[in-house]
């Protein structure tokens, strides 16, 4: 195993002039640097998207508030949704996948390093295009104007008639461009996992994170492409005078909904499967046990991937579909709870009887387990079409999917940050500040999203910029907004902790968690070539085998 690194003649790397260092970052094709670029880029957009959310919540803190105009409110929810999904969640998960997969499978880089760089810069350019709309949206004729059609941009709002100026065009083009980047990265991940594994690492011996990212990449290829096609059609409508979504010429607004959600629902699994992947790496290490039911975990993930492709129209129950279509999508949506439930039981069984260490990554993962369960349960409630007719497009739905995305995905992401920060930076984070971040964010999350269910049940629709007093919504909206400030404080502690630890943290060493996967066998941060000698593995926990030659895993697998 490659525990020592080769001394390169470039010992004075850090003393190079700043311009030269920046030039290296811009021209890099190294998967680790691109991974970090993805992550930093996504963190920047996380701040943008968070500010937009905060603006919305301040506007809704009390009835008849005048913090922003209705027009600005529309732009805020559109930009918040688009930013968080396409320019925070996807890039941050791609960043971790980029950084970790080659290290975990014992490879020196991704399969296509230059495609990797190309994909990152496409994504980055897409984000710039979206935010350029703030100044360029109205062209030369007026003030700045960001897209205001909602993140799923239903027709006919997006037609030239109802969407003047260029704001919708910026929205289309930014998603088109970043979509090409996503597809490129997904193909790269698939090829890396299938073609670059080190000797001995059969598919059944890959770490679960690698398996889950393989499924995620497959979903990206099959789900983001339909969005690309739909955006092309929208461009044809807007620029060439086509009629795809033009109801006056016989076109259909509903088919846009289908095309969007054929992308939109698998996208949820694109985001949540990597979150499962983080949990599947962190929970075993901090329970000091091997993952429970590895083959079942893999099977359940593949199952989620397949079923996830056939549930999209549960977003459309309120649109009015035939009863047979409703029945199909009710049943498929309920069915997907089964493999997801299997996963939750497997994580619980992994924790069960383990020597649990409640370090910050583990705290986030335990919270994830409970919160994701609740998110799944409200999901099953909404999957029943009659229930959805009552609560579709209400704040109950907003609370449900933020429970998935914040309570599920963002919590494991924070866990992943703390878990792999020592590997990426070479330094330990501060545990006290980590725990402070956890508790602030945990309290803020529950204040905001637990109580958001209630105005939804009481009939508060989504996307309204204000409301009348005396409907019983006031106090709940106040609590929801107060929670936002706790979350913002938590994120500030998080960013402060990362910055402080990057310069002042203790030196981490190559394996601070006594973990078992290959990335911990090389130095922290890893050298450019990752491994001095390409490792050979015999089991799912190669480092365990190395540390315990008297009782290696491969005797039992």
């Amino acid at each position: 195993m490659s525990t020592e690194s080769i001394a390169l003649p470039l010992s004075g790397v850090s003393h190079r002039p700043l311009v030269e260092q920046l030039h290296q970052w811009v021209t890099t094709v190294d998967h680790k640097r691109l991974g970090i670029l993805y992550i930093l880029y996504a963190l920047l957009f996380l701040v943008f998207g968070g500010v937009e959310a905060t603006i919305m919540r301040i506007q809704l803190i009390r009835p008849h508030n005048n913090f922003v105009s209705p027009q600005v409110f529309n732009r805020m929810f559109t930009m918040h949704g688009t930013t968080m999904i396409f320019f925070v969640a996807m890039p941050i998960l791609f960043g971790f996948a980029n950084y970790l997969i080659p290290l975990m499978i014992g490879a020196r880089d991704m399969a296509y390093p230059r495609l990797n760089a190309f994909s990152f810069w496409m994504t980055a350019f897409g984000g710039l295009l979206l935010y350029f709309s703030f100044v360029g949206g109205d062209g030369l004729y007026g003030a700045g104007n960001a897209p205001d059609v909602g993140w799923f941009a239903y027709a006919p709002l997006t037609s030239q008639t109802f969407s003047r100026g260029h704001s919708t065009d910026f929205w289309i083009l930014s998603l088109l461009v970043s979509g090409f980047g996503s597809i490129g990265t997904a193909i790269n991940i698939i090829a890396t996992i299938l073609c670059m594994r080190c000797r001995g690492m059969t598919l059944a011996k890959m770490p679960l994170l690698v398996w889950l990212n393989l499924v995620m990449a497959g979903l990206v290829v099959l789900a983001v492409s339909p969005l690309t096609a739909a955006q092309l059609m929208l461009l044809v409508d807007r620029y060439l005078g086509g009629h795809f979504f033009d109801t006056q010429a016989g076109g259909s607004a509903v088919i846009w909904m289908h095309f969007f959600w054929v992308f939109g629902h698998p996208e949820v699994y694109v985001l949540v499967i990597p979150a499962f992947a983080f949990a599947s790496e962190i929970i075993p290490v901090f329970s000091r046990k091997a993952i429970f039911g590895y083959p079942v975990m893999v099977a359940a993930t593949i199952c989620i991937g397949f079923i996830g492709m056939s549930v999209w129209a549960h977003h459309m129950f309120t649109v009015g579909m035939s009863s047979s279509a409703n029945t199909f999508f009710v049943l498929s949506t309920m069915a997907i709870a089964v493999p997801t439930g299997i996963k939750i039981f497997n994580w619980l069984a992994t924790i069960w009887g383990g020597q649990i260490q409640f370090k910050t990554p583990m705290l986030f993962c335990v919270a994830f387990l409970f919160q994701f369960l609740v998110a799944g349960l409200t999901g099953i409630m909404l999957s029943a079409a009659p229930f959805d007719w009552q609560l579709g497009n209400s704040y109950f739905v907003i609370a449900h999917f933020h429970y998935v995305i914040v309570g599920g995905i963002l919590f494991t992401l924070f866990g992943a940050f703390y878990y792999w920060f020592p590997k990426m930076s070479g330094r330990m984070y501060n545990e006290t500040f980590g725990k402070l971040h956890f508790w602030l964010f945990f309290i803020g999350f529950h204040l905001t999203f637990d109580f958001m269910h209630i105005p939804g049940i009481l009939g508060m629709p989504r996307r309204i910029y204000t409301y009348e007093p005396g409907r019983g919504w006031d106090i709940w909206n106040l609590i929801v907004t107060v929670g936002v400030f706790f979350q913002a404080a938590g994120v500030l502690v998080f960013i402060g902790n990362l910055l402080r630890s990057y310069w002042r943290g203790e030196i981490a060493g190559s394996d601070p968690w006594d973990a078992w996967t290959l990335e911990w066998s090389t130095t922290s941060p890893p050298p450019t070539y990752n491994f001095a000698a390409i490792p050979v593995v015999k089991s799912r926990r190669p480092l365990w085998d190395l540390k315990h030659p008297e009782d290696p895993d491969w005797q039992y697998e």
Binding site: A249, G251, F259
Partner: protein
């Protein structure tokens, strides 16, 4: 465990992983297939829904000759690769050139068809739903043919400079996978547009 530990000498692990090129191309083909699926679904969904004329049966003629050209180019590229694999670069160049010629004939035929539709029949992308979906789907395919032809022409250029040899077979094969995919898509587009939709 009572059984003694069995150590596997490292050299004994048989280790064959698939090559990167074909895997990546299969990924691209999957993504492209998903894009085409959406356009085909839109075409089928809108068959007969145009509120004004012209309708497909009034203006479309089945392009049998062009279809034969494009489909046989899959055969010629297959022969070309066979020669390259055996190191016969001159024969490879001939069959490769023939592939490009067949693709170019197809593209020229599309140009003629569109010219006829636009100037003689008055069907543009703005005319009705048929025009929108027809030009989008057939145009998307023609765009892929164009990209394929540019790539094929690049290889031909390198061949003329003597830079393509037997050792490049695997790379050229990856490109031929793309070309086969473009042909298969045409089978679907042809069936949907000229048979089902007419």
């Amino acid at each position: 465990m009572s059984a003694p530990a069995i150590t596997i000498p490292e050299g004994d692990i048989r280790w064959n992983l698939p090559a990167r090129g074909p895997v990546g191309m299969y990924g691209l083909i999957a993504a492209e297939a998903a894009i085409f699926t959406i356009f085909v679904v839109a075409y089928i969904f809108y068959i007969g829904k145009s509120v004004t004329g012209p309708q497909p049966r009034d203006v479309l003629h089945v392009p049998i000759f062009l279809t034969v050209c494009l489909l046989s180019s899959s055969l010629t590229i297959h022969f070309a690769l066979k020669f390259l694999r055996n190191g016969k670069v001159r024969s490879f160049a001939f069959w490769w050139l023939l592939t490009i010629a067949l693709g170019a004939v197809f593209l020229a035929g599309t140009v003629r068809e569109w010219r006829h539709l636009i100037y003689d029949e008055g069907l543009t992308i703005q005319t009705n739903l048929f025009g929108t979906t027809y030009y989008s789907l057939v145009g998307l395919h023609a765009f892929h043919v164009t990209v394929g032809l540019l790539a094929l022409a690049t290889v031909l250029l390198f061949t003329f400079f003597g830079d393509v040899g037997q050792q490049h077979t695997e790379r050229v094969e990856v490109l031929s996978m793309y070309w086969h995919f473009v042909d298969v898509v045409w089978v679907v587009v042809f069936t949907v547009v000229y048979i089902v939709g007419r």
